[in-house]
């Protein structure tokens, strides 16, 4: 579904990603862990087109978003890029709901404006998703009336409403307290049981281990180690990985 090869990215002199390659297969869940500043968000932002890669190749669901010509990443045309963009959804740490829209409109706006669905169809879809998120009674509330966990569930519903092929989560629970975190982790777990293809950046080690089919540990812009969750979390080969995972154990 996603195939990344040799992606690199710098901000000025600051090299943020070096030679990142990985693969995410349909129906699988990938977790990405690593210390602050290791480039996890930047990687997700390149895949969701919020940043541009300097070099590398990225194939999403059979289409190339960009291809390396040896020197740098050559991007596909903007029309194609938009098309590819619709296949990936992103859930932010800070929710980024639209404060002036009701919960319902947060979920229907893009369906209508981007996918040109009818009002009825998009609302129907929104209601189904809200029910799934146990939020059907909040359809007409505004984001400021919701708890953090509820906001994050709305933002997940907003992303799912566009039927993405892959959903990316960038520390979806980092702004939440433990109880609300559990709430969101359950939603993501439920999605994985429906075989939603997902990649999750998270500091919730037990969750990452439990949910993912494949795990990546990044540090300073490189993939230090990757493997099945059992390998990576229980018997990491690299010293850096071991130390990082251990730091979450107390």
């Amino acid at each position: 579904m996603i195939k990344a090869e040799h992606i690199s990215k710098s901000f000025g002199d600051n090299v943020v990603l070096t030679d990142i390659s990985f693969e995410l297969k349909k129906g699988q869940v990938l977790s990405i862990i690593g210390p602050s500043g290791s480039g996890k968000s930047t990687l997700l932002r390149i895949i969701t087109q919020l940043e541009r890669a300097d070099n590398g190749t990225l194939n999403i669901d059979g289409d190339y978003l960009f291809k390396s010509n040896g020197e740098r990443a050559e991007y596909t045309g903007s029309k194609k890029a938009r098309e590819i963009g619709l296949k990936v959804g992103l859930v932010f740490q800070s929710f980024n709901l639209f404060p002036h829209y009701t919960v319902l409109k947060n979920i229907t706006a893009a369906q209508r404006a981007v996918l040109k669905r009818s009002k009825e169809e998009s609302e129907e879809k929104a209601i189904v998703l809200l029910r799934k998120m146990s939020l059907e009674d909040k359809a007409h509330s505004y984001p400021f009336e919701l708890s953090g966990g509820q906001k994050q569930r709305v933002s997940i519903a907003r992303a799912l409403a566009l039927d993405p092929e892959v959903l990316f989560f960038d520390e979806p629970t980092s702004a939440l307290d433990p109880e609300l975190t559990r709430e969101i982790l359950k939603v993501i777990r439920d999605l994985s049981e429906e075989n939603m293809t997902m990649a999750v950046v998270t500091h919730e080690m037990a969750f990452a281990k439990g949910i993912s089919d494949w795990a990546i540990f990044m540090d300073k812009g490189v993939i230090v180690e990757e493997g099945s969750p059992a390998e990576l979390f229980d018997s990491p080969k690299e010293d850096r990985t071991r130390r990082f995972i251990k730091s979450f154990e107390e």
Binding site: T48, L50, L90, N96, P99, H100, A109, A113, V114, Y142
Partner: protein, 210 residues
């Protein structure tokens, strides 16, 4: 009675200056704001300088300038009324532009990013996501500016526009009485009372979200 009629007539002129200035400067402020935020450097420098001048020199001086300067340069002045409108419009556009800009900058980058990831076009993002929030953000500041404008219109008297203040002043010196000035004060007060009530209502209507 005679006096009251005269003052009412002056109020009419004051309201004309007031509304024409708003009609021109509220939209023009958008253009200035765009110029202030453009990536094209020469334009930004010029617009920057323009805003600095408009905010850094007395409005009174600007009024005199727009009335007298065309005479020295072209040998003909604008009619007093239109010179006043020109000066007020250029001055208030600069202030409105700065208010718009701060309103734009208060929008979190996450709003743009969420819009982008959801596939909204730039135009859709601006008109449906950003602009409504900007408008809500800037209503109080615009309200302050509009209230100041009501009072500033009195400055038009200095270039001989026969508006409320000028009529009150003339009547006062003719009749050796402060009553006309006092009545004019009441008129200004009433106008601004109405303005601030209108803005209160607008603010309340936009308070459905935070």
């Amino acid at each position: 009675m005679q006096l009251l009629l005269q003052l009412l007539k002056g109020t009419g002129v004051t309201l004309e200056v007031f509304s024409l200035t708003l009609i021109f400067s509220l939209p023009l402020g958008f253009v200035v704001c765009a110029g202030r935020m453009t990536r094209i450097l020469p334009i930004r420098w010029i617009v920057d300088l323009y805003i600095q001048i408009m905010r850094g020199t007395p409005l009174l001086l600007q009024l005199l300038f727009f009335y007298f300067a065309p005479f020295y340069i072209f040998g003909a002045s604008l009619p007093r009324f239109w010179a006043a409108i020109l000066a007020f419009t250029l001055n208030y556009s600069a202030y409105f532009a700065e208010i718009y800009r701060s309103g734009m900058q208060a929008i979190e980058v996450g709003q743009y990013e969420a819009s982008k990831v959801l596939g909204f076009t730039k135009a859709y993002t601006f008109f449906h996501i950003v602009l409504p929030q900007v408008i809500k953000n800037i209503i109080p500041a615009i309200g302050n500016e509009v209230i100041t404008l009501v009072k500033d219109t009195a400055l038009a008297s200095t270039i001989g526009v026969i508006e409320l203040f000028r009529i009150a002043q003339t009547a006062s010196s003719r009749e050796f009485s402060t009553i006309p000035i006092f009545v004019a004060g009441v008129f200004y007060f009433i106008m601004n009372y109405v303005v601030s009530k209108i803005f209160d209502v607008v603010e309340k209507r936009m308070a459905y979200y935070r």
